[in-house]
């Protein structure tokens, strides 16, 4: 229990929030890593997955990539890349390792979302004379939207959680508060850092869930999405 109250004391001490090693700076680094990673991963994964889902090919590929993605230890990728010449380019290893980690869930969820759209609805749309592009934009995409958003939320939360590992390879982010606490054998600081990351992950999950609901193209229609 002393660790919990110690962590509370740590978090309520103003000096811990300021400066280059303070919470605000680490939080900004963390959001920068996570945000860029998520944007790049979406740009890579979503067009590919939606297109594959539209033409209905590559299902095995999507599932296999997702399974293989779980087998790759992000920490190992991060450390490997840090030791290569890429490591001289600052944050590049972090971004590559995190993108590799984020692409599989995005790809799988978007693909499955597209494939789970009722085939009868797609056939009906085609029968009404819609072109492939129209079917994609007006039928498949709105119906696949909930699954695609689930994938983005899942990827976002996992990226935020995993970005802490950057600290173990000597990079920035909230994980540094944890690793610094370990090095100082300061358990309250370790717990405080952990609480901060967990809160950030939950906050982002909540914000994305809310945004997903507001932006839902099927919002307000009866019998929405399955």
């Amino acid at each position: 229990m002393s660790a919990i109250s110690g962590a509370y004391d740590w978090l309520t001490t103003g000096t811990n929030w300021q400066g280059d090693k303070g919470v605000w700076h680490r939080l900004a680094e963390h959001l920068y890593f996570s945000g860029v990673t998520l944007a790049v991963s979406c740009l890579i994964a979503l067009p590919l997955a939606l297109w594959l889902g539209h033409i209905g090919k590559g299902g095995g590929l999507a599932v296999n990539i997702s399974n293989a993605g779980r087998a790759v230890p992000t920490l190992a990728v991060l450390v490997l890349l840090t030791l290569t010449p890429l490591g001289r380019h600052g944050d590049l290893p972090t971004f590559i390792a995190l993108v590799l980690f984020a692409v599989p869930p995005l790809l799988t969820n978007a693909y499955i979302g597209m494939r789970e759209v009722d085939r009868a609805v797609v056939e009906a749309a085609r029968g009404m004379g819609m072109s492939g592009g129209q079917v994609f934009r007006r039928v498949e995409l709105p119906l696949a939207y909930p699954m695609v958003m689930t994938g983005i939320r899942l990827a976002a939360v996992q990226v935020i959680a995993t970005a802490t590992l950057a600290a173990m390879a000597g990079k920035g982010g909230l994980g540094r508060i944890i690793t610094a606490g370990f090095n100082l054998q300061d358990t309250p600081q370790v717990v405080a850092g952990a609480v901060l990351v967990a809160l950030l992950a939950l906050l982002v999950e909540g914000v994305l869930a809310g945004a997903g609901r507001v932006l839902n193209p099927m919002k307000g229609r009866s019998g929405a999405a399955r």
Partner: protein, 259 residues
């Protein structure tokens, strides 16, 4: 043959390293396998009753699934840190953290597997005079086994990868070698440990796949059965939009079942 001084020139691939550091590598692999196996086994032992509970008492399902999902959003580094005051620097700290992560995947897949058992099969067994225990062991479990083992496979593979993070408390198996290699800029050690880690994950996955095929011989013969089961799964199980990772887990399970 690689030159004998590749450890001095710090090359990525180094036969000399493999020869001279074999005991160290074996120790790390043993620790890695031990931590992973203990985590998954304990996870299964906890997840199974939880899944049964969630199925029988609907009021439990929401909290159980919600709690295990929240656990999954806690970063691994933070998870080990949060447990630090309870366990100190020990292997049980790492195992406890990993068990909590496996629960998210396992509970969802176990529940999905049990719910996918066709009601007709259940009714038929009851009509034949099966009690609840015999129904569970002889009808429901065998039918749910492919989906459940698919969950165990996913949990095992991700646990092998996550174990490396245990390096923060020096119980990371191969992860500890990776971190030591980073600190001393020892490339051969980092690459060797990373490759071994991936090989372990692939090996464990194949082993479990073999186990699954051995335990469920009927799925290979009657492809018609699985088609029926998939159809009931689609209509019969509640889809949770807020499901997080479990959704993919269940869908992957479904896909693995179809494969």
């Amino acid at each position: 043959m690689s030159s004998p001084n590749c450890m001095v020139t710090n090359e990525w691939v180094c036969g000399e390293y493999l020869r001279t550091r074999r005991p160290e590598l074996v120790d790390a692999v043993v620790q890695h396998v031990g931590i992973t196996a203990a985590s998954v086994v304990i996870g299964v032992l906890i997840a199974f009753p939880l899944a049964l509970l969630a199925r029988h008492r609907r009021a439990f399902a929401g909290p159980v699934l919600g709690l295990t999902t929240v656990l999954y959003t806690i970063p691994s580094l933070a998870m080990f840190s949060l447990l630090l005051p309870l366990f100190g620097l020990s292997a049980s700290l790492v195992i406890t953290g990993l068990v909590l992560y496996t629960l998210t995947i396992l509970v969802r897949n176990f529940l999905a597997g049990l719910q996918a058992v066709p009601d007709e099969a259940r009714e038929a067994a009851r009509g034949m005079g099966y009690g609840p225990v015999r129904l569970l062991w002889e009808v429901e479990l065998p039918l749910a086994l492919p989906a459940m083992l698919a969950g165990v496979r996913i949990a095992t593979v991700s646990t092998v990868a996550l174990t490396t993070v245990g390096a923060i408390v020096d119980y990371g198996g191969l992860g500890t070698l990776i971190m030591d290699g980073l600190d001393s800029d020892f490339k051969a050690q980092v690459l060797t440990a990373s490759v071994l880690c991936v090989l372990l994950a692939v090996g464990a996955d194949l082993l479990l796949l073999g186990l699954q095929r051995w335990l469920t011989p009927w799925t290979r013969v009657a492809s018609g059965t699985s088609r029926i089961r998939r159809r009931t799964d689609r209509s019969g199980s509640p889809d949770r939009p807020g499901g997080g990772s479990g959704d993919t887990g269940r869908r992957e399970a479904k896909a693995a079942q179809a494969a």
